[in-house]
Symmetry: C4
Subunit: 236 residues, 4 copies
Amino acid sequence: MSTLTAVVDDLVAANRILAGLGVLDGFGHVSVRHPDRADRFLLARSLAPELVTRDDIMTFDMASTPQDGDKRTPYLERFIHGEIFIQRPDVISIVHSHAATVVPFAASAVPLKPIYHMSSFLRTGAPVFEIREKFGMTDMLIRNNAQGAALAEKLGDNSAVLLRGHGYCAVGGSIPEAVFRAYYAQVNADLQQRAIALGGRVTYLEDEEARLYDETNRGVLGRPWGLWKAKFAPKD
Amino acid sequence: MSTLTAVVDDLVAANRILAGLGVLDGFGHVSVRHPDRADRFLLARSLAPELVTRDDIMTFDMASTPQDGDKRTPYLERFIHGEIFIQRPDVISIVHSHAATVVPFAASAVPLKPIYHMSSFLRTGAPVFEIREKFGMTDMLIRNNAQGAALAEKLGDNSAVLLRGHGYCAVGGSIPEAVFRAYYAQVNADLQQRAIALGGRVTYLEDEEARLYDETNRGVLGRPWGLWKAKFAPKD
Amino acid sequence: MSTLTAVVDDLVAANRILAGLGVLDGFGHVSVRHPDRADRFLLARSLAPELVTRDDIMTFDMASTPQDGDKRTPYLERFIHGEIFIQRPDVISIVHSHAATVVPFAASAVPLKPIYHMSSFLRTGAPVFEIREKFGMTDMLIRNNAQGAALAEKLGDNSAVLLRGHGYCAVGGSIPEAVFRAYYAQVNADLQQRAIALGGRVTYLEDEEARLYDETNRGVLGRPWGLWKAKFAPKD
Amino acid sequence: MSTLTAVVDDLVAANRILAGLGVLDGFGHVSVRHPDRADRFLLARSLAPELVTRDDIMTFDMASTPQDGDKRTPYLERFIHGEIFIQRPDVISIVHSHAATVVPFAASAVPLKPIYHMSSFLRTGAPVFEIREKFGMTDMLIRNNAQGAALAEKLGDNSAVLLRGHGYCAVGGSIPEAVFRAYYAQVNADLQQRAIALGGRVTYLEDEEARLYDETNRGVLGRPWGLWKAKFAPKD
C-alpha cells in the first residue's frame, strides 16, 4: 500500500470517527496535507462526514482550488484548510467542527482552558476569531482566502481556534492528533462548564504541566486511535 | 414516481428522522402541504412518528378535516397545521415537537436567540404563545381552529413559535428545511443554555449575519438531509 | 390469552421499557395489581429489569409476602408495593426508580413541579419522604411494612413521591400510565432544572391546566405505549 | 475452571463493562489482585479497555514490574495499582478513570459527597490528590512508585480518590465492587452537580446511613454485575 493510499484511508477513518464521536454531524470537515507534496491537501467533496468513502476525497492546492480538473462540489469553507496549511508548516491535519459543547465558549467571554491533561493542547489558549472585526456582516462562513488567512492568523501557534457564532478548528501534527484534539476540545468544554457550574474555585493545568503532558500524549495517541478505528472506520 | 409519491416518501422519512434525532418521541408530528393542491395538507394518523409508514398518511383540508371519508383517528392537534398553512402561504412543512431542550425556554422569561449560524432561522425571534391569554384554563393542546389561528398569529413571520408549558413549532419552505429548523432549534436551546450558565457575556448573531446565513443554508441543506435519510428513512 | 397472561406480558414489557428508556438500571422495579384478586400483586424476583422474563414474575399478598411457596429471592423493597396498593385502591401499577434527573430533587429543597403538559400528573406535587423522620438512621431502603406504610402515607393522593437520598415512586391506574409517569417525571426533572438554570422567571402549569391534560392523557397514552412495546418488549 | 481463569474472565468483563458504561474511553484501566498470590496483580497491557481480551492480561509484582519476562508495553500508570495494593490489603480491585462528570470535582474546591445510597462508598469523602504538592510540575501522570505511594497515601481508608486535573480511582473488595464504585462515582458527580445547580439546600447522606447501605450493597451487588456481564462481557 502506497503512503498516499494509507493517508486516504486514515482520512476516511477520521471522517467516520469524528461522526461516530459526535464531533461532526451533517456539517464540518477534516483535511490532511498531501503526503508527497507539502503544497497540496486532501479533503472530501461536499458530503456529510459519516458518508465519506475513498472515492469522495479531492485534492486541493494551497489556494484551496480543486486539482486535476475535479468538478465535484467542494466544501464552501475549504479556505480554512489551505490558509492554515500555509501559515502553519507544522500542521498536517485540520478538523473544523460545530460541536455542541464548544460553541458556547465561542459565543462567551469566558475562555476555554485545560481542565485536565487530555486537553493539554489548550495550554496556550483557544483564541476566539470574531469575523466582524475585519469583514463586518457576513454569513459567518470562511468563504475565501482572505477570511481563511485572517482565521489562520488568529489561530497563531495555538492548537485550536474558536469561531464566534460558528464553531472551532483543531489542528495537529498527524490525523490522529487532530482528531484527538477536536474530540477532547469538545470533552473539555463540557467538563469546564460543569466545573464552573459547581460554583467553587477551579484549578486549571499550569502551562508547564500541559506542555509536559502534550509530549507524553504523542506516545500514547495510538491507543484511542486504534479503538476509534476499530469502532468506526469502514470495514473493507 | 409522481410528485405526490415522492412527497409522501419524504414525509415518512421526516417522521423517522425526527424520531431518530430525538426531536419527537411518542408525541409530536410533521406535516407537508399537498404538492398538487395548496388547500390540502398531509399528516400521519394518530401514531408515534417512529412507526409511521406511507399507509398512515392522511389528507386534510385547511379546516384540518380529514378528506376522502378517511375515518382513522387523526392527531388531536391537527389544527396547528391547517391554521399555519392558511396564514403562511410560504410555509410548505410544519413540525410540532415537545423536544426537551426547548420546553424550558417555552416556560421561561429568557428568550431563545441564535447562538450560531445553524440556528439563523431564529433571528427574528421565537415568540412564546401563552394559551391562557385568549383561552383561559385549557388542557394546553391546540384542539380547534380558533386555537390554531391564535397560535399561527403569534408565529407571525417567524420560523418558530414556542408554546408555553407545551413545546414548539418550526416551519419551513420544504420538508428538509422544517426538519432542519426543528432539529437546530433543539440544539440551539442546549447551546444557549450552556452559554448562559458560563456566566460571561454572550454574543448572539446579528440579524444581518443570520439573514445572510439563512440564504446560504438553502444551498447546503441537502447535505444533512441526505445523511439523515441514509440513517433513518425506511429502506424499502 | 387469559387476562393474567396479558397482564404478565405487559409487566415484562414494562420492565424492558423502563430499562430501555433509562428509568431503571440494575436496580428499581415495577409491579401490577393481580387482575383477578385485588389483594395480590405481581413483581419480578430480585433481578435487573432488563433481564426479566415471564418466568421471573412472583405473586405477593398485601403484606408483600411471596405466595404459592415461592422460594426465590424477592426484592428487598417489595414493601413499597404492598403498602401503596393497600392505601391506594385506585392504583394498579407502581414503579420504583433511582433515575438520575429526579434524585437531585429528592435531595433538594426545590420542589418538582410540572413544566409542561406531559408531567401534568405532578400537579398536586411530589412530596419528599424523609425516612429519618420516623426511622432515624437506616440503610435508606424500604425494608418492612412499617416503612412502606409511612412512604404510602407520604405519597397520599399524589401520583409520585420522592425518597430523599434514594429515588422516587410513580403510580398509575394502569401499567402504561405508571410507566408513562415514571418516564416523564424523569424528563420533567431535567427540563425544570434547565429552566431554573436559565435564570429568568419560570411559569409552571396551573392546577386546572394539569388536571385537564391528565384526563386527555388517558386517551392518548396508547400511542407512546405502542411505540415503547414495539421498541423494547421481548419479540416472542 | 481454575480460580485464576475465572478472575481473568471477570477482569476482561470489567474492562468491557467500564467501556460500555462510559466510565473508560480509550484511556483508564482496571486491575485485580492475583487470586493465588497477594503480592501480584493482574492488569491489561497498554490497550483501550474495550478491546481487552484474556491474552492481553499481564502479571505484575507490587513494584508494578511485569513478571515472567513479559515484554509487552504496560500502562504508564501501572504504579497506581501496585502502591494501592501495598497500602490497602483489603483492596482486591482498582479502577482508574477520567470519567467526564468526576473530573470537574477533581478541579474544583467543591467536594464530592454521596447524594444517594448508591454512592454510599463516598461517605468518608473522596480526597483530592494534588500532584504539585510533592512533585511540582509533572505531566500529571502517576509514573513511578513514589508518585503511586503518595496517591495511595491520599486515598487512605477511603473508597475513592480524585486526581486534580486528571481523573479518579475507585477501589473495592472485589472486581464487581470496584466497577460499581467507579460507575456510581460518575453518576453521583452528575447528580450532585444537578442538585447544586437547583440552588436550594442539598441534603447528603449521613455517615451512618451510608455505612449501613454500604453493607447492604454487598448483598445486592450481583444484580447490576449480572446485568452488566450480560450486556458487555465477551460472549465466547
